[in-house]
């Protein structure tokens, strides 16, 4: 069984994350270690196969995805630092506490809190609606949030959205109440006369599906 550091190096090599020196050193190791070389070849084939069969762009699975990724990255950096510390102890040891994982996490948290208060002026008034966070899957779309005192409203402005084609007929519906059917994972919506107007459910990908179509 390979040690975790070797596994980590192998993944970084396959993902092309090594710098020139690291890559040269690692490829020298591959030449001298046929077992490691075999494993590297198999993992690279698997990686290529996965890349070939997965879509080039994937949706971010949830709103906290980037936070999770930052935490993973911080953990990786902490592991790298620990390895560097073992390899080259010396004067830098005096300031090693600066590189501790808790310091990185504390710094991240402090920056997040500072950013929240700096970028969210609406926090001052507890009677206003607030946008706490927003995420646009399409990177071409920018979300701006602010409170407009003149309009007495909180605004979430989405800039960069594709226009709805002018020839498309955008029509509205008047819904007065709805009923959820948990077993069918669907919601039926009714107009002011109690007539069912439409039903919304999820397709196999979890996307909303409205029937009947307009």
């Amino acid at each position: 069984m390979k040690p975790p550091s070797e596994e980590h190096d192998l993944i970084r090599w396959i993902d092309g994350e090594m710098n020139e020196t690291e890559r040269t050193t690692f490829e020298e190791r591959l030449k001298q270690d046929p077992v490691l070389a075999k494993e590297a070849r198999q993992m690279r084939e698997l990686s290529s196969s996965l890349r070939a069969h997965l879509p080039a762009e994937m949706r971010v699975p949830h709103a906290d995805y980037f936070n999770t990724q930052i935490e993973v990255r911080i953990t990786q950096m902490a592991l790298d630092e620990a390895r560097a510390k073992q390899a080259a102890p010396g004067w830098g040891a005096m300031f090693q506490w600066l590189r501790q994982p808790w310091f990185a996490l504390a710094g991240t948290a402090a920056l997040a809190v500072l950013g929240f208060f700096l970028l969210n002026p609406a926090t001052g008034d507890a009677s206003e609606s607030m946008i706490l966070s927003s995420y646009t899957p399409n990177t071409h779309v920018q979300a701006r949030t602010y409170h407009d005192s003149a309009a007495d409203a909180t605004v979430l402005m989405l800039d960069g959205l594709d226009a709805v084609p002018a020839e498309r007929k955008v029509s509205g519906i008047n819904i007065q109440r709805s009923e959820v059917e948990p077993e069918l994972a669907s919601t039926t919506m009714f107009d002011s006369h109690g007539t069912p107007v439409l039903m919304i459910s999820r397709d196999a990908l979890g996307n909303p599906m409205i029937t009947p179509r307009g």
Binding site: E128, A153, L156, A166, S171, S178, P182
Partner: protein, 165 residues
Amino acid sequence: MKPILTALFIVICTALASAQGEPPSVVSSVKHATEGHVWGALIFATNDATQLTGAKEPMHAELPKLNERLAKVFPFKHFEVLGQHRQDIFREYESWVVPSRDLFMKIDSKGPADNGGVNLHLQVWREQQVLVKSDAVLRKDSPLFIGGPPWKDGRLIFVLFLERK
């Protein structure tokens, strides 16, 4: 012969009814806990009155001067409610606000907010595409204006308003 056929028909109907099992449970605000009640509307904003669709949906009575307030944020003269939806915010189930098939919203309740209001996770959808995901606190008398996609020479706007807790 006829009584036998009638009895057979009743037996078949009874068997079919029992084979279908329990009907799916229906959750409505009457039966299920809610965190509040919202009004969602899709509004078309334009400077060209000839482009208005002629929709006759009224503005919300508890949102005074909505046109003027929208005009403070969006640089348009005419605002037309295309569709509107009154919806309970279910505590344990997702709630959909669908004033139009073209632009609609999913709401997940995250519980009551401090100082009143409701903590919500919002998703604005355009057909099968999610445009934005957002965590928000919605409070009464403080509507949320969401600037949506351009349409014709104007813009589509989604308004979300907490009618009651």
